[in-house]
Each structure stands twice: as structure tokens, then as C-alpha cells.
Symmetry: C2
Subunit: 278 residues, 2 copies
């Protein structure tokens, strides 16, 4: 009999994927970490506490957006912090920018990193890059005393429940803001506009208290409920769509499956229901 | 035990919805027509041959796109033909345009129309509008001798298998083109860019033989596999994004949950993988 992985949201619907074999399933101090081989074009799938995180077959939908949309707004991003993101997909995309000298990955759960290194090599492939420093620690603590350190901070977190909860607070956002250099930009995954309306409202209320510029962009994620995802774009000084680096951009687009200049410029056009929510 | 409706694509993944109660399930001469009450925010769900067609909770994602994107490119759309679309959602959106004098709905399966009138009134509500003429007949035959009749033709069909198959041929597209008035526009649903790559390739190869202008726009559909859908925009003379009617547009946006001017202009920016496919 065919086994299915199902993720059904509290809204009563979600996704289903044919399962072939569970490759890794362990309880870390923070969450259940699982990688299974699907019987689908998605290939291998990473779940945390049984919630979909990423798949080999569609991961670029998420990672290209969270990395390139903010990175391409910055004239010379040298130092980047990724909070969460233990699968390594965001680091891989960041390192396509030849301006980058250092990426710090601050992931609380070392088991996520190890499982992804072993079972999802096409996603985690740049975690061993010498420009990448991996810290297995709590970003809430890590960020507290960091001032004027990063050009870009990407909050590549899980949902606002479980280990990711403390990454959705005013105090945390304030510390993230203080860790930015002048002209810095923060980008945070901000849930599904169709499914997680309440969570989005809460999150943006806090972000707008902290950042004078707080905007939203969206794109398709085939394996997230609703197939549609939002990210917050926050800064003290950088307006959305105020800059696109032609030299870097034209190079990076060649290695992307989604991202290009037109697609970049189209991302901040939101549906009415989301504009009203924000 | 919770019952789920699942639609799993040949790619091995898809959507799952909690089911509460089947309200209507009959075999028509063409297909199995079913409406069920879901135990979800999607409300009632219409399936044809067990494939997801529309839900009360997310139908506007589809209907606003297939109607308003082409309609807003036309300076004065008076006569519109909808092929398929028996649920009535596309007709409802078309009738928001005060220029429209007549909409012909040509749906092969009368049972779809009757089931939607009874069980999906928020979608089918304008099918009784005196401007709407309903023809229960095969559009392939209907369109054959129609010349210079329509400003807009919308092909709101099922997938290219089953009763919808003949709506994806060069002969049919040629007849549709001949039914257009000068300055006319055709818009056709064209499947999921992420899931139905082969079907898209075939369809656009044919469309491009027939129409000198053939472009693609995309948007999110939460309940279609992959959460992302494409539509073909075809014309002999009208280029995509060549016109947007301010007067009509500003009125229509007020009654839409998705559609607005920025969103309209962003729709033709495609991901790299889709540009390469086309």
C-alpha cells in the first residue's frame, strides 16, 4: 500500500507526498529531524517535527528568493548572517555573490546540519566552503551583543512555534537591527499569506515597530501549504526596489532556476487580501 | 477516522483536504461530477473525474486572473465567450466590466452547471444574469463557423485529457482566432508550470503556430498541485501589458481579493525554468 506524508494545516488542507523510505529519523534536543526518500519528482524531503522544510526537487523556489532578493538590493554585501537555515540552501545561494567575504550560519540544531550534509548534498554543498562559519548555537543569545557586523541578515527560521518561537519577538528583531552595518538589510521568512494570516499580522506588527522600512515580497513554493510564501524585507535606510546590481545580477541569474531581474521587480506586487492584512 | 480527498499528480505529490460530506456525486455522459463539503477553510469543493476544479475558499485566485488580465488589456470589451467554465466563476468576474453586453458560456456538461448552481452559489451567482447566454454544447463544434464575433475568448477548460482534450489542438485554436473581432484577445488556462511541463510545451507550440502574439502569465492557486498556475495570453495584435484601463480598473479592483494594477503588471515576469520551457 502506498504510504503518504501529509502536512495538513490547521485550516484543514495541505500537501501529500508519496513516501518510499525513511532515511533518517531522530529526536534532537529541539525537534524530530527526519529525511525521507519520496516516490516523486521531489526526491528527498526534510521535515522537522513532521512539518515540511525543504525538498531536493523544489528547494530553489525558497532559497533563491530569501537570498537574492535582499542581496541584490545591497551595493556591496560582504558579511552575511543566516539564522536557522541548517540545510545550507540559503548559504549556497549567498555564496554565488562574489562580493561576499564571510557567511555566518547560526543554527541551533546541529543534527539538522549533519543530516542535511549526509542526505541532502545538493542543498548543503556549500556548508564546507571556507567563507562559511557554522555556529551551532541559539541565535537569540548570539545576536544580543553583535553591533554593526552584517550587511545582510537572513532569518531562515522554522514556524513561530517550537524552537523558532523566540525568533518572532520585538527584542530579537531589535537585536538583529543593531547587528546591521549602515545600509544593511534583513530578510525573514514570514509564513503563508493564504494560510497563516494571524501569524503574519502579529509578525509584521512587531517588525514595523523596529524597522522604519518594512515591506513584503512573495513567491511560489510548491511544497508549502497554499503554494505561496511571503518574506519580510526590512531596513533602516534601503527601500524595496531601490537598487539592482547589473554586474552581479547578470552573473547570478545564469545559475538560478527561478530568479531573474523581471521576476525580482515583480515580487513586491501583492494581492489585495495581503495588502489589507499588512 | 478523518477522510481526506487527495489529488496526487503523476509527479507523485499533490494536495490533501479534510472531507466532511459528499453533497453531490453523479456520472454525466462526460465525467464524474462531485461536490463535497470539506472540513477546512476551503468550504465546498468541486471535482471532475476526481480532479480538483475549484473551491469556495480559493476560487478567486483562478477566476480573477483568467478574467481580468485579458479583459483589462482591451479598450472596450463588449462580447465575451467562455469555453468550459461551467462553475460560473469566470462569468461572474467578466460581468464586473461594465462595457460587457453579452457573455456566451459554452459548457459541454450541463450537469456541471446544475451542480454548481445548486451547491456553489457564491461562484455560480451570475449565471442567471440576463447578459449571460448559456449553451450546453461542445465548443469544438460551436466555434467552427463563428467569425468576427468576440472581443475576448476565455478557454476555461479542464486538463488536456478527458472531455477537454479537443480544446488543445491547432484546429481548435485556429477556429478560436477566427471568432475574434479586431483587437481581440484569447486567454487559456495552461496548466502548472512546475508539474505539467510536457503539457505546457505541447500547448504553447500549437498556440504559437496560430497566434503571432503568444505570451504567458502566472499566479498562485492554493489548491492546484504545485500551487502555481499559468495562462496563455494570445492575440493577433495586442501585446501583453500594452494597455490598462484606468477607469474600469480602479472600479474592478475594489471588488477583487487578488487583482490590482501592480499585481497585473507583475504577472508576466516568469521564473527562468518557465521561460526556458517556452
Amino acid at each position: 500500500m502506498t504510504q503518504f506524508y501529509q502536512e495538513i494545516t490547521p485550516a484543514g488542507f495541505g500537501i501529500a507526498i508519496k513516501q518510499k523510505e525513511i532515511l533518517f529519523s531522530e529526536q534532537s534536543p529541539f525537534q524530530k529531524v527526519e529525511v525521507f526518500e519520496s516516490d516523486s519528482s521531489l526526491g528527498r524531503v526534510l521535515t522537522l517535527d513532521d512539518l515540511m522544510m525543504t525538498t531536493e526537487g523544489d528547494e530553489y523556489h525558497y532559497h533563491e528568493m530569501i537570498a537574492h532578493i535582499p542581496m541584490m538590493h545591497h551595493k556591496n554585501p560582504k558579511s552575511v548572517l543566516v539564522i536557522g537555515g541548517g540545510d545550507g540552501g540559503t548559504v549556497r545561494e549567498i555564496l554565488k555573490h562574489d562580493t561576499v567575504e564571510k557567511v555566518v550560519l547560526c543554527e541551533i540544531d546541529g543534527m539538522v546540519i549533519e543530516a542535511c550534509k549526509k542526505y541532502l548534498p545538493t542543498i548543503s554543498c556549500e556548508l564546507d566552503n571556507p567563507k562559511c562559519e557554522i555556529l551551532v548555537e541559539d541565535a537569540i543569545e548570539y545576536i544580543k551583543d553583535k553591533k554593526n557586523m552584517f550587511d545582510i541578515v537572513l532569518i531562515d527560521s522554522t514556524d513561530p512555534m517550537g524552537p523558532g518561537e523566540g525568533l518572532f519577538t520585538e527584542e530579537f528583531y531589535t537585536n538583529v537591527k543593531n547587528s546591521l552595518k549602515e545600509g544593511g538589510i534583513v530578510c525573514a521568512q514570514s509564513e503563508s499569506p493564504f494560510v497563516n494570516k494571524e501569524e503574519i499580522k502579529k509578525m509584521y506588527t512587531l517588525l514595523k515597530k523596529v524597522f522604519p522600512i518594512c515591506s513584503t515580497f512573495t513567491s511560489n513554493i510548491p511544497t508549502y501549504p497554499g503554494g505561496y510564501w511571503a518574506w519580510a524585507f526590512c531596513s533602516e535606510t534601503v527601500e524595496p526596489l531601490s537598487y539592482w546590481d547589473e554586474r552581479r545580477g547578470n552573473e547570478i541569474v545564469k545559475s538560478c532556476k527561478i530568479y531573474n531581474k523581471d521576476y525580482h521587480y515583480a515580487r513586491f506586487a501583492l494581492p489585495n487580501y495581503l495588502e489589507e492584512l499588512l
